[in-house]
């Protein structure tokens, strides 16, 4: 079973990339991007960084404490995973604020093609990130319970997916900033 999860997640990632890429093709009246998006970007980047640190800490604790197969909730890496989760949710909240900011300017999904694409692309990304949050919650649940084999593959898969969401967001932001 080794590696299946990872490979498949990367395929899932590829799929979502296609989904998002294909819908970009608009170039009409420009809309101003809400500045909070840049703050959100930093938050998301930070969440990737905390995930990396958390994963390293967990791997280190597994390598040293070979007798203890599962990590306890007190393991140093767990704090970083919780931080990642928090930053992910903060990003989503920030996106909601961005939508509200646009709506405040009278730009709704049907107002201009550009706002339509903005809402669709960001919403699709948020939806996918929500999937990442769910996967992270599942992972934290397994780590906290501490029963069963260590979820090395699952951790790898979720982390890959999370970073992919990060890269995807940068790509979207570039498109939104240059094309809208």
């Amino acid at each position: 079973m080794i590696g299946i999860a990872t490979i498949t997640m990367s395929f899932a990632a590829y799929t979502s990339a296609m989904v998002v890429r294909q819908s970009s093709g608009a170039d009409w009246q420009a809309i101003p991007l809400p500045p909070i998006l840049y703050f959100n970007t930093l938050v998301l980047l930070a969440s990737s960084a905390t995930f990396v640190i958390g994963r390293r800490r967990l791997a280190a604790s597994w390598a040293t404490g070979a007798s203890e197969p599962a990590a306890s909730p007190a393991a140093p890496g767990m704090t970083w995973l919780y931080l990642t989760l928090g930053l992910g949710l903060l990003f989503l909240a920030g996106q909601v604020l961005a939508w509200r900011a646009l709506a405040g300017q009278g730009l709704y999904v049907a107002t201009t093609p550009n706002s339509g694409f903005f809402y669709v692309l960001t919403a699709l990304h948020a939806l996918h990130l929500l999937g990442g949050v769910a996967a992270l919650l599942y992972l934290i649940g397994r780590l906290t319970r501490g029963s069963g084999p260590t979820p090395v593959n699952a951790l790898g898969a979720v982390s890959l997916y999370w970073h992919f969401m990060d890269v995807l967001w940068i790509y979207l932001l570039l498109i939104l900033a240059t094309r809208l």
Partner: protein, 578 residues
């Protein structure tokens, strides 16, 4: 552990064999539905003024007095196309047989993600229900064809009857269907790459497994484009966006309150999916034929690596030709040429594979089973339909032929009937493995002979109708200049009703053999691949707890083996090689 409760065993089962049969059963229901719709259309085309009994009672508004209105005709056409392409040609050869056979052929206990697999089927089932629901909304199903061209598909009720709720249901159904197929494709790829048993190298995989693998790669890309296209279409319809609707559009005397969208964007997105979809329907057939022909020719398939390379090339090229569906969209002639060239190039690998099949049976002592006959029938209709493709690939000729019955004849042969023959071949071939009983060969041969004659009588004349300028999508040919085609249309209708009736023989054989057929031995056809090394039907975990070790390729026929003129893949390496 095998589940014991009825629901876990037969309905929400995680077993790939059950899910495969569920897909095939769904395909059977869908194909019968689609066939009845085509009968109604054909009857109306041949006898435009005649009433159809009970139809006036079923659809009082759309078929008052039992005569089909032009709008109902278009609804029937839309539903026939959508059901056949999505719920028959995609589900049966790919998801159905692939699910049942692929894990066994690579030596796995199940798919990589059994839960995704179950979800994939039930999502597809829901998509089917949503689509069929369009029959039961007041204005009936959409009239936009299976391609649902924007902007008329995007603006709602003003575009005509069925374009309100019916079209929304259509878009939602197809979006759901995409999700199901994406999950399925993902599973196929992961299973093929990661769950192969020891010794099962990529080059030792049977051709059918290769074909399903390539198909799932195509499907992953194709359906992940159609999904956002449908999402955007739904948003245009319900959220008031303008992705596909241009400014200043007046439909039914009403100015549409949209602006800035591009109807062509839909065509591009749709056909970027739509053309690969043709290969999603036909490549599993390629695999099934390449798998079955050597079994009954008792000779190895000629040029096995070339066949694989050609299937890969077809898969790749299928993404470069979508524009040939859009020659009439006002496309720049240079772009048209750019799409025409790869269209002609893609005929090369297809031709090579066909010639290799013919080379395989050349000089062979064929065992004329029904499965083999359908393989030969596949080659026949694929060539007949493929040759008309050469003409359509030329933009200048296509300009004349595109809107005529020539195209109808072409794609029904090459995609519809060929894929159906692949399904029939697979059914007669794998039925013993699926149900542990043999199908009746006599009935099978009658079924094949009459079906082959029938489909040629239906679709061959359509090419001539098209050359004569007979427009497609019209519900009746009563105008002066088209009256001359009526006798031929009557002949086609007779042939269609006859061919449909012949399928009752198949249905009878299917159900009779399922319960009364002769018991099937593990390897009735003396084939080499892994599914034939285990009992019929296979146990819950396929290989009874042990993992087979593969020592041979799938193509070792006509050699001196331990059991005859073939070597099973599960034989130890170096054993029995000629």
């Amino acid at each position: 552990m095998p589940p014991t409760s009825f629901i876990r065993k037969y309905i929400f089962s995680l077993d790939h064999k059950v899910i495969g049969r569920q897909y095939l059963d769904l395909g059977l229901v869908a194909v019968l539905t689609g066939m009845v719709l085509s009968w109604l259309m054909r009857f109306h085309l041949a006898y435009p003024a005649s009433t159809i009994p009970l139809l006036g009672w079923i659809a009082p508004k759309l078929a008052a007095g039992g005569v089909i209105t032009p709008e109902l005709y278009l609804s029937l056409m839309t539903m026939h196309g959508t059901i056949m392409v999505f719920f028959v040609l995609t589900t049966a050869p790919f998801a159905g047989f692939g699910n049942f056979v692929l894990p066994i052929q690579v030596g796995a206990e199940d798919m990589a993600f059994p839960r995704f697999n179950m979800l994939s089927f039930w999502v597809t089932f829901v998509a089917f229900l949503v689509l069929v629901a369009a029959f039961f909304v007041p204005e009936g199903p959409p009239i936009s064809g299976w391609t649902a061209y924007a902007p008329l598909s995007a603006i709602g009720k003003d575009a005509g009857p069925g374009m309100g709720t019916g079209q929304t249901l259509w878009a939602v159904s197809i979006a759901i269907f995409c999700v199901g197929q994406l999950l399925g494709s993902l599973n196929f790829i992961a299973t093929t790459l990661d769950l192969r048993t020891r010794g099962m190298t990529l080059m030792r995989m049977p051709f059918s497994t290769w074909a399903w693998f390539i198909t799932s790669v195509i499907g992953l890309i194709a359906f992940s484009v159609l999904l956002p296209a449908c999402v955007l279409l739904i948003l245009d319809r319900v959220a008031g966006t303008s992705f596909f609707i241009p400014a200043g559009l007046v439909v039914s005397d009403r100015l549409q309150a949209h602006s800035g969208g591009s109807p062509l964007l839909w065509q591009h997105l749709f056909w970027f999916f739509g053309h690969p979809e043709v290969y999603i329907a036909i490549l599993p057939g390629f695999g099934i034929i390449s798998h079955i022909l050597p079994v009954f020719a008792r000779k190895p398939l000629l040029g096995p690596k070339v066949v694989l390379a050609c299937m890969g090339a077809i898969g790749f090229l299928s993404y470069t030709v979508w524009g040939h569906h859009m020659f009439l969209s006002g496309m720049n002639p240079v772009s048209a040429t750019l799409f025409s060239v790869p269209t002609l190039i893609i005929t090369i690998p297809a031709t090579i594979v066909t010639l290799l099949w013919i080379g395989t049976i050349y000089g062979a002592r064929l065992r004329f089973t029904t499965a083999l006959l359908f393989c030969l029938g596949f080659v026949s209709v694929f060539v007949s339909g493929g040759i008309s493709g050469f003409f359509l690939a030329q933009p200048s000729i296509d300009t004349y032929l595109h809107g005529t019955y020539f195209v109808v004849g072409h794609f029904h042969f090459v995609m519809g009937v060929a894929a159906m023959f692949g399904i029939f071949a697979g059914t007669y071939f794998w039925f013993p493995k699926m149900y542990g009983r043999m199908m009746n060969e006599t009935l099978g041969k009658i079924h094949f002979t009459l079906t082959l004659i029938g489909v040629y009588c239906i679709f061959m004349p359509m090419h001539y109708l098209g050359l004569a300028g007979n427009i497609r999508r019209y519900s009746a040919f009563t105008d002066d200049y088209m009256k001359g085609s009526l006798p031929l249309h009557r002949f086609i209708t007779m042939a269609a009703l006859f061919t449909g009736a012949v399928q009752l023989i198949f249905l009878y054989n299917l159900f009779w053999s399922r319960f009364r057929g002769a018991k099937a031995p593990p390897n009735p056809w003396q084939a080499t691949s892994l599914e034939w090394s285990i009992p019929s039907p296979p146990p819950f975990d396929n290989f009874g707890g042990h993992h087979p070790v593969v020592g041979h390729g799938p193509n070792e026929y006509g050699v001196a083996g331990p059991d005859g003129d073939y070597v099973m893949q599960a034989e130890p390496e170096g054993h029995g090689v000629a």
